[in-house]
């Protein structure tokens, strides 16, 4: 049995008939073709699938698409605006914040959320914010540097 799920993703409304058991990550990737969000551990541990649901980060493997019905989702595809990278994306480029890149979308979505709430986070605060996410390349040092770079750029330009 399917149900109609209507979600505003990155400002665009999508409606699909899906099974209630469908997870949000698969809705985004398989139904909408938005493959920027990565499906990683499938156990709520790694955070590669982090997107925003109603403006709060969530592990998209741990919510049903049905729960997002009538709500808004923001994915990594929405960080770039009008051909300009978000400072967080620039930071990851500048500071070598990714190696294999698998965890990167989730890391960046959480980092963006952190900087919106705390424009000048300490290293400890950045590490705390991403503590529920795993970089299997163990590149945490550069991820933290990338977020600090983004924070500085964000402060300097806003």
């Amino acid at each position: 049995m399917t149900m109609r799920v209507a979600v505003t993703v990155n400002g665009t409304e999508y409606a699909r008939d899906v099974e209630p058991r469908l997870l949000l990550i698969h809705f985004l990737r398989d139904e909408l073709g938005l493959t920027g969000s990565h499906w990683g551990c499938d156990t709520s541990n790694c955070g590669s699938c982090v997107v925003w649901l109603d403006a709060k980060p969530v592990k998209a493997c741990t919510v049903l698409a049905a729960m997002a019905d009538g709500r808004s989702v923001r994915t990594v595809e929405d960080l770039e605006r009008d051909g300009r990278l978000d400072p967080v994306q620039e930071g990851f480029v500048e500071c070598h914040g990714l190696q294999c890149g698998f965890c990167t979308p989730g890391m960046m979505m959480t980092a963006r959320w952190l900087l919106d709430r705390n424009p000048d986070p300490s290293e400890a605060e950045i590490r705390e914010a991403i503590s529920g996410q795993i970089c299997r390349c163990t590149g945490y040092e550069n991820i933290v540097r990338s977020v600090r770079w983004a924070a500085k750029k964000f402060r300097d330009t806003s």
């Binding site: 058991r21 709520s44 541990n45 709060k56 980060p57 529920g132």
Partner: protein, 296 residues
């Protein structure tokens, strides 16, 4: 080859009011869906296969943390079942009266999960390693369970029937948790947890709530998790402390009693003797910090 975790077929309904939720929950094999951060993983593993989910995330009337009663205390802290872990961690009023909540919420899951997981969901999941169950047991909280005939109040110390099992029946919903706030100063609380890594379940953890009159312990609440303490409580250690001076010697003795009376199970998180060692050490630390906070 990818092995995808897929829940069983399930129906989904979104509750539009508490009354609507209660009527949906009267159907057999129905589960409440709040944050979903315990239930959905269990469904993916097919450890839970409900016929229907009742999504209560839209019920704003269950989402609050507030103090009822005088500002000087003597009231109760009321936590709506849908309050998120992050809300409890951020709540100044909860932290002022019960720093144990902030101690514990800092080590519940991880920051992203805490944005979604709910206080009520944690209690109802009744995981034997759950942190807030021990905290609420230590604080002698009361669960407010709403049903078709109104509310019934159940002490958190009688709320759990066993692992993954609570007193909530069909057609009922946990609405609120109430924590009594003492009328005068002299109450302190703390939570101490050891986990293998960030976001993991406790290997063992201990919470303490102490009410002191000068240096005499008027009341002690000690909660333990992950070590099969009955109702998450170290009752024998509480009995030992009541009426005694708040001294290091008594804290150590009480911690030893707590370690003797729990029933830790050896598993991949450690052998039994290690877990008993942790219970003794963490209980002593929690009592010490609770006492220090009571006198400041």
């Amino acid at each position: 080859m990818h092995y995808m975790q897929v829940p069983s077929h399930v129906e989904y309904e979104r509750a539009t009011s508490v009354e609507h939720a209660l009527s949906l929950l009267s159907r057999p094999d129905t589960r409440v869906l709040a944050g979903g951060h315990s239930l959905i993983p269990m469904m993916k593993l097919r450890l839970a296969q409900p016929e229907m989910l009742v999504d209560i995330n839209g019920l704003a009337e269950l989402d609050y943390i507030r103090l009822d009663g005088g500002a000087s205390g003597g009231g109760q802290l009321r936590i709506g079942a849908l309050a998120r872990h992050a809300d409890l961690l951020d709540s100044a009023v909860a932290g002022e009266h019960f720093p144990i909540f902030h101690d514990a919420e800092r080590v519940v899951a991880d920051p992203v999960v805490r944005l979604w997981g709910t206080v009520g969901g944690s209690l109802c999941q009744a995981d034997p390693s759950e942190d807030l169950s021990a905290v609420f047991a230590a604080a002698r909280a009361t669960a407010v369970i709403r049903g078709p005939d109104g509310d019934r109040l159940v002490p958190v110390r009688e709320f759990h029937l066993g692992p993954y099992e609570t007193v909530i029946g069909r057609g009922e919903l946990l609405a609120e948790v109430r924590v009594p706030v003492p009328a005068h100063r002299g109450t302190g609380s703390a939570y101490e947890k050891v986990a293998r890594r960030v976001g993991d379940w406790s290997v063992a953890a201990a919470g303490a709530v102490l009410r002191l009159d000068k240096h005499t312990i008027k009341e002690a609440g000690i909660g333990l998790t992950a070590v099969a303490a009955e109702h998450f409580v170290a009752a024998e250690a509480e009995d030992f402390l009541r009426g005694k001076p708040a001294t290091e010697e008594n804290f150590t003795a009480a911690a030893k009693i707590a370690a003797e009376h729990c029933h830790p199970v050896p598993d991949q998180r450690g052998p039994e003797d290690y877990k008993r060692h942790l219970v003794a050490e963490l209980t002593a630390r929690a009592l010490r910090r609770a006492a220090a906070r009571a006198t400041t």
